[in-house]
């Protein structure tokens, strides 16, 4: 309440002059309406209580907003779905750290009980999980496909680098006794949403979609329950062919690593889409080789043509690759022998055409022949791609360097 001389009236309000010389608009009480009289009225402004409430509200809002912006990117920077057979999903924050891991199926949950990837860097976490999966026999002869699907929460967000992720998986996989196919894929937020609606991982969802598109029906239940390796074998498919994003590189690394001596593949550098290893031991995948032959061989040919005129010096390929296998060099000694044989064969093939682009067509044909021949030979060819002589080098065993140079 405010006391003052009424200076002006207007409806229920009036202006009073207070003793301290303020002119204030007030809400008048009914009885005093004569100008010049001392009246009391409530000041027409927000009361201090209301002001306090308003200030508090604003503060709370700011706090919430602050927390929100802090939380939001943290929860949603990216998701990495890992499908081995256990499906699980890692939520990655802005710094590339795993904030949360959840299993998308029972096996995934079990695996997470045994391994805790939280707070690790996503690449380490993936390594850990793959290693864990292998250790607890989720990753075995029948289930030998690892599909890592990255879903950035925002477009163009580069929180998780697929290359690095793939490298991480390969790194782990390389140490395993079984050959494992590694595929990385990139999914959009919408796909991620739909997948979680259906209760499957994004990777599996994409496979389901891809299969529907190609008329090769795999029901969502099958996708949900079966391991990817199992699926491949049963359906006679190659999951990378079902993955939808044409603009995205589907990369596959097949590691052939048999105690008896096999070929070993390292993570590839981007742009080399296909590799095939001469030896595979999984008879299950043999079914798929026929189907998958056509497409990949085309790819290889393209690659060949591109590479030929460039006259790629072998060192170029050797360099990046030499870094990675360091840690397993000891194991590789045996393999190298085998590898060397392969190399020699390929090198022979290549010697003529090198530096002679006019012969490209011939070369192409001869390569195609050889690739197909090889595919036939390797019944258990898992990758389904034609054998790529150039790709074959890429493992870049230290021993390879000098050999290739001779080319």
């Amino acid at each position: 309440m405010l006391k003052g001389i009424l200076v002006q009236t207007k409806g229920p309000t009036g202006v009073v002059m207070t003793p301290d010389g303020r002119f204030v608009r007030v809400l008048l009480t009914r009885n005093h309406r004569t100008l010049g009289q001392e009246v009391t009225g409530t000041e027409l402004k927000f009361s201090s209580f209301l002001q306090g409430v308003a200030v508090a509200a604003v503060l709370i809002l700011v706090c919430i907003l602050g927390l929100w912006t802090k939380m939001m990117p943290a929860t949603a920077a990216a998701y990495v779905a890992l499908d081995i057979n256990p499906s699980l999903e890692l939520a990655v924050d802005n710094d590339g750290k795993v904030m949360e891991a959840r299993g998308l199926d029972e096996e995934g949950e079990e695996l997470l009980k045994k391994v805790t990837p939280e707070k690790l860097e996503v690449y380490q976490a993936v390594e850990l999980l793959v290693a864990g999966a292998a250790r607890y026999h989720y990753l075995n002869d029948t289930n030998n496909v690892v599909l890592a699907t990255v879903t950035p929460a925002r477009e163009n967000a580069k929180v998780v680098d697929e290359e690095k992720l793939e490298a991480a998986v390969n790194h782990t996989v390389a140490a395993l006794a079984t050959p494992v196919k590694v595929v990385t894929e990139r999914a959009t937020v919408q796909e991620h949403k739909q997948a979680s609606k259906k209760g499957v991982s994004v990777g599996r969802y994409l496979i389901h979609q891809g299969s529907a598109k190609q008329g090769n029906q795999i029901s969502i239940d099958e996708v949900k329950k079966k391991g990817l390796g199992q699926l491949e074998k049963e359906k006679g498919i190659e999951i990378q062919h079902l993955l939808p994003h044409p603009k995205l590189k589907v990369k596959e690394v097949l590691k052939n690593r048999v105690e008896a001596g096999g070929d070993k593949e390292n993570p590839r550098t981007p742009g080399k889409p296909v590799q095939i290893l001469p030896k595979e031991r999984d008879p299950g995948t043999g079914q798929s080789s026929g189907q998958s032959k056509h497409m990949p061989s085309g790819l290889i040919i393209k690659e060949q043509i591109q590479q030929r005129p460039q006259n790629n010096p072998p060192q170029n390929r050797g360099v990046p690759e030499q870094n990675k296998p360091d840690d397993r060099e000891d194991k590789e000694d045996e393999e190298e022998k085998e590898e060397d044989k392969n190399e020699q064969r390929r090198d022979d093939r290549r010697q003529n055409p090198l530096g002679q682009p006019e012969h490209a067509k011939q070369i192409k044909d001869s390569i195609l022949d050889k690739v197909q021949e090889k595919l036939k030979n390797n019944k258990d060819n898992k990758g389904g791609h034609g054998s790529d002589p150039a790709g074959g080098h890429s493992p870049g065993k230290p021993g390879n360097g000098p050999k290739e140079k001779e080319d």
């Binding site: 003052g4 001389i5 009424l6 200076v7 002006q8 202006v15 002059m17 003793p19 301290d20 010389g21 303020r22 002119f23 204030v24 608009r25 004569t34 100008l35 010049g36 009289q37 001392e38």
Partner: protein, 248 residues
Amino acid sequence: MTLEQCTAQYLNQAREGDAQAREQLLIQAKPFIQSACVKVCGRSLEWGRDDELSIGLMAFNEAIDRFEDERKIPFLGFARLVIKSRLSDFFRREARHRHQPLEYQVADYGPVQMDTAQAWEKYLLEAEARERQEEVIEFQKELSLYGISVSELVEASPKHRDSRENLLAVAKQVAEQPALMDHLLRTRRLPVKELTFSSGLHRKTIENGRRYIIAMALLLHQRERFIYLYSYLKLTGWSEGEEGSGCA
């Protein structure tokens, strides 16, 4: 020494029987009495020539005795009421004063018996209310001459005590310095440059508080015209504090 200061100093002494104080007060009040009488009569009056002034002086003297603090009427307002009342009586007796304002003829129709306390009370209340109302309206009119509306005044009056006191100090300065006040009355503008100089406030501050300063300066300067408003303001410490020293 202003009349207010004198009143504050001598009124109580005079009421307690100090003849000298009363004398002082009457002398000081002469211009006020004159202006009050002129207002009622509507013509110029001169001491020693017009009876109205004598009646006014007597009425003022009477007001000193009859004044009661509890009424919450400022003494000068009260005195003016008494003066008007006495003059009305006088006019009625002197039928020749037909030129007097109509309202007093009507309002004071019938014998005002000062002796009947009730009637006096009634008269006082009504007259006071009317005077207050008139005064406020007059103040509004005065402000409108300077292009100031009451609503603008609400917006212009500083809410913070410090800034308000700053502007009030400026207004006081204007009211007390004839040169500044003359400038304001003549041009209807505030002598901003001089004020920034003398007050030390920023030009912007003064310009933003322009309306408030003008209103308050007018109120402070024409204190005998806006008795009620002014006396209401006087309750605040800042003007009371200087009364004593100003009077001494």
